[in-house]
């Protein structure tokens, strides 16, 4: 069981619905976010490309944030989901510094917060809020260990890339290109 997410950049329109759905679902205070949109333009008029993608914590297999956490607040579940136990977090921000993806922020109440893949919803058989709301259905979520899963299927059949693979963190956020 290894949870992962794939983002189809060919379909994503960068609407930010994933961002606001995450904020309302997880009650992220306004001004903060656990996921965000990146827009990359390349070329000169009129030979241009544009990539939209929805980014969040990569739930790395080799997660520096977990390794460097002095209290064990940052930890990994057996399904590979990286979580922060708020009550154990002392807000030292070592994890924030260690994350190559800038996926963590300090909550106004003092602890570090980030994407959980909506772990509380997974238990009920629900998809993460961002996946379930996305109007373009460009987000895929599921189990990499299950060859029948939709995510295994798209990763098998489509070209994809990782963000900053050279960091060696083995991210589990795949971008379909």
């Amino acid at each position: 069981m290894r949870y992962a997410m794939a983002i189809d950049t060919l379909k994503c329109v960068g609407c930010s619905d994933c961002v606001v759905a995450c904020q309302t679902e997880n009650n992220v205070p306004i001004g903060y976010c656990r996921d965000w949109i990146v827009e990359v333009t390349d070329g000169t008029y009129p030979n241009l490309t544009l990539e939209n993608r929805s980014e969040r914590c990569c739930h790395c297999t080799n997660a520096p944030c977990v390794r460097c956490c002095p209290t064990g607040a940052s930890h990994k579940t057996e399904e590979g989901v990286v979580l922060v136990t708020h009550s154990d977090c002392i807000g030292c921000a070592a994890c924030i510094t260690s994350c190559p993806y800038d996926a963590r922020y300090t909550h106004p109440e003092g602890y570090v917060d980030k994407c959980t893949f909506c772990y509380h919803r997974l238990a009920d058989g629900l998809l993460p809020a961002c996946v379930s709301v996305c109007p373009t259905k460009c987000l895929y979520f599921g189990d990499l260990d299950n060859p029948e899963s939709k995510i295994s299927e798209v990763l098998k059949n489509r070209k994809w890339k990782l963000l900053i693979p050279e960091a060696g963190t083995e991210p589990k956020l795949y971008f379909l290109i």
Binding site: M1, S16, Q23, T24, S132, T136, K150
Partner: protein, 736 residues
């Protein structure tokens, strides 16, 4: 919702990590059906834009509004709301909301109001309406509206004796398209447009930036079409998001679209790439059209549009290859250059030639439904309407033209008060930002005896009102049943998830109370809205009780067909009963029966054409203060090509002011975005920013208003729409 309370729930979830493995297999679904013991959900349909997606308002365990999630049974949204719908809770939590009825105590526009009781506010309005009626006649009362509340005030104004009623969504938006399609196919397209995007093989977008405009189901279906390998062709001077998803992007010189469309028609006919059988069976005027477009070759169009002839031919071939599963998207905001009905006629003609009407992957035949309404006495017949003020123009139009009603509010000669509008109800539309030429709108307002604004938020228009009636948000009220055309007709219920915050009320109640004050009781037969909704639902075999449970109900018409068979002849509601390539109706009005290209003025040296559009997280100017949505985007930027930025020595993120061709300078500064995505002869900005009302604490002074820059309004002679893309701006860098 209180953050602490929620944390308890989530840290429990995170603390208790030992989830049993049996839960964790591929059983995910996208269902949002979360009615566990502590949560509560109430059906609604969204009011943040006109698309009206159905969803559920969820409460947390303290019975406070938590989130809004799409209703899976809704063909409009398929259970997926757009960012605005998801962020709709911000309209409820917005601290700047209107909270009490307000009565103006100083000159108009000075923003001085005092709080009043509903009783006092209604008494004042009723008295002024009666004064207007006795001095000028009841016709001098007018209604401008957008959104759900308008329906109830329409009943009130009609019962009062006036038919001066308009939605800016017509003459400022989709009007030219509706008239063009009616002239061609005998019917407008209405909303949602019956486009079979999910099954199309070729989608052509002309200035339509799906994905940035979040017409929800269409964005969803465009994504489906991408999955299935459809070819998208985007015509836009800007490299829009849709352009980036396209097989062909045609970076057209602005204002030349008709030339491109005519040359496409030329190429289809010259190469016999049109659907001969369909045209022969169902179209009228093909020979005239063929003759008409003979000289509009790709080479001719290249000189005008800057689109290479071989690209014009290749894209036409792509459409032909996909035919009839091809859609030349009819667009929605279509009021551009004043010859808009003709441009949309060209689009309609292309669709007809490709035989996409009534075809899978083209235009489906929408299943329509209607809900019976309780019998009301006949409305008094008004002695005149706005139509009598325009000397026999715009005969192809049935709906009110907001701009003409504004014109009719300014006496033609001073002292001549015949057929003059003296009172406005403005419901859910911020006319100051909706109508072009703000100065003209304000002039009209200064001539009024009464301006009543009904809204949830203080907006520029409420600042000019005599009386402000605060409406509760859509999450706090019932509204009329959403009746929807689609592949299957369907209805949706909106009901309150909570009691209204502050002293706010639904439009239904306001209109009725005013009706009672005006002695119009017989037009308001129900005492409560629930009674009325239940009566209506019972007529179609449902009930309020049932709808509260399900939110959305499909009511398909038996034997309805979505597509017409190959070789089938159908009757169209035009003069000839055929699809009119040559429009007899437009001909009768004295305009060219087939579209012609007209050259439009170009920017002078140092000026750039102002193009405006949409951002996916905002709806016009009405969401600019929504805390959840401003968090995603809190100001607009002006897109400038690097070559031009260089010429002006502009830096990224620098704030500048804009000045238009008439010398109007933007009130607020706007941030520069230097990007290759825009042509050198144009600039682009997202509409709806630059709010001037200080009561909007999030939105005030953020970004600039495009509306302020639109003082050259190009009126469509056929239908009276207000073309807004004939404006040019230059940059003022010294005053920031």
């Amino acid at each position: 919702m209180q953050r602490r309370e929620f944390l308890k729930i989530s840290s429990l979830g995170i603390g208790g990590l030992a989830l049993s493995g049996t839960l964790l297999y591929e059983f995910f679904n996208s269902a949002n059906d979360e009615t566990d013991g502590e949560l509560h959900r109430f059906p609604t349909y969204c009011e943040i834009c006109f698309w009206q997606c159905a969803g559920w308002t969820h409460l947390d365990k303290d019975k406070k509004i938590w989130k809004i999630i799409g209703n899976e049974d809704d063909p409009h949204s398929n259970g997926r709301l757009c960012p605005r719908g998801t962020g709709g809770i911000g309209s409820y939590y917005d601290k700047d909301r209107l909270k009490k009825p307000l009565i103006r105590i100083n000159d108009r526009g000075k923003q001085s109001f005092r709080e009043a009781s509903w009783e006092e506010a209604f008494d004042l309005i009723a008295k002024k309406m009666k004064d207007i009626s006795s001095k000028y006649g009841p016709e001098s009362m007018a209604l401008f509206h957008h959104g759900s509340g308008g329906k109830y005030f329409t009943n009130l104004i009609k019962a009062f004796g006036s038919d001066n009623i308009a939605k800016p969504s017509f003459a400022q938006c989709m009007g030219p398209r509706e008239v063009a399609y009616a002239a061609t196919f005998g019917t407008g397209l209405s909303s949602p447009e019956p486009l079979d995007i999910r099954d199309t093989k070729c989608l052509v977008l002309i200035g339509s930036h799906l994905g940035e405009n979040m017409h929800n189901a269409q964005v969803q279906e465009m994504s489906d079409a991408i999955d299935k390998g459809a070819s998208i062709i985007t015509v836009d001077p800007r490299f829009s998001t849709a352009a980036s998803k396209s097989k062909f992007w045609l970076p057209i010189k602005p204002a030349t679209d008709i030339a491109l469309l005519l040359s496409w028609i030329n190429v289809l006919i010259t190469n016999e790439w049109y659907d001969k059988e369909f045209v022969e069976l169902n179209c009228e005027g093909f020979d005239q059209l063929k003759q008409h477009v003979q000289s509009f070759t790709p080479e001719w169009a290249f000189g005008i549009t800057t689109i290479e002839p071989d690209v014009i031919v290749k894209t036409a071939k792509t459409m032909h290859d996909a035919s009839p599963a091809v859609i030349i998207h009819p667009g929605r905001h279509t009021t551009w250059y004043g010859d808009d009905t003709q441009r949309l006629r060209a689009v309609a003609i292309l669709n007809a030639l490709l035989g996409s009407w009534g075809k899978r992957g083209g235009f489906f035949i929408p299943d329509k439904a209607s809900l019976p309404h309780h019998h009301l006495p006949a409305y008094p017949k008004p002695a005149w309407t706005w139509k009598d003020t325009v000397d026999g123009k715009y005969n192809l139009v049935d709906l009110g033209l907001a701009n003409i009603m504004v014109d009719a509010s300014i006496p033609k000669k001073s002292g001549d008060n015949s057929k003059v509008i003296k009172g406005w109800f403005v419901v859910g539309t911020n006319l100051i930002n909706t109508l072009p030429n703000t100065t003209h709108t304000l002039k009209a307002i200064q001539n009024l005896d009464l301006l009543v604004a009904i809204d949830t938020m203080p907006m520029e228009i409420t600042g000019w009102a005599d009386v402000i009636l605060p409406e509760c948000t859509y999450l706090e009220r019932y509204d009329s049943i959403r009746v929807n055309q689609n592949r299957e007709a369907n209805i949706a219920l909106r009901m309150p998830a909570t009691k209204p915050l502050y002293d706010t009320k639904p439009a239904w109640w306001m209109a009725r109370e005013l009706g009672l004050k005006l002695g119009l009781k017989e037009y308001f037969p129900f005492k409560t809205q629930e009674e009325e909704l239940d009566w209506e639902l019972t007529q179609i075999g449902s009930s309020l009780k049932e709808m509260k449970k399900i939110g959305v109900k499909k009511i398909p018409t038996p034997d309805h067909y979505l597509y017409i068979a190959k070789g089938e002849t159908i009757e169209f509601n035009t003069n000839s009963g055929k699809i009119e390539l040559y429009s007899s109706a437009i001909d009768e009005e004295g305009f060219p029966a087939m579209p012609v290209y007209t050259k439009h003025p170009e920017p002078e040296d140092g000026f750039y054409r102002l193009i405006y559009g949409r951002a996916p997280m905002h709806t016009f100017s009405r969401t600019a203060n929504n805390p959840n949505l401003t968090d995603l985007m809190d100001e607009n930027t002006v897109w400038i090509n690097p070559k031009i930025a260089n010429l002006w020595d502009l830096k990224e993120n620098q704030y500048i002011k804009l000045k238009n061709q008439d010398g109007i300078v933007s009130t607020f500064s706007i941030k520069v975005r230097i990007t290759e995505r825009i042509r050198i002869d144009s600039v682009y900005m997202v509409h709806g920013f630059g709010h001037a009302d200080k009561k909007l604490t999030q939105a005030y002074g953020r970004g600039a208003s495009d509306t302020e820059m639109i003082t050259n309004v190009l009126i469509d002679p056929i239908m009276g729409g207000t073309g807004m893309r004939g404006n040019f701006v230059t940059f003022i860098t010294e005053t920031v």
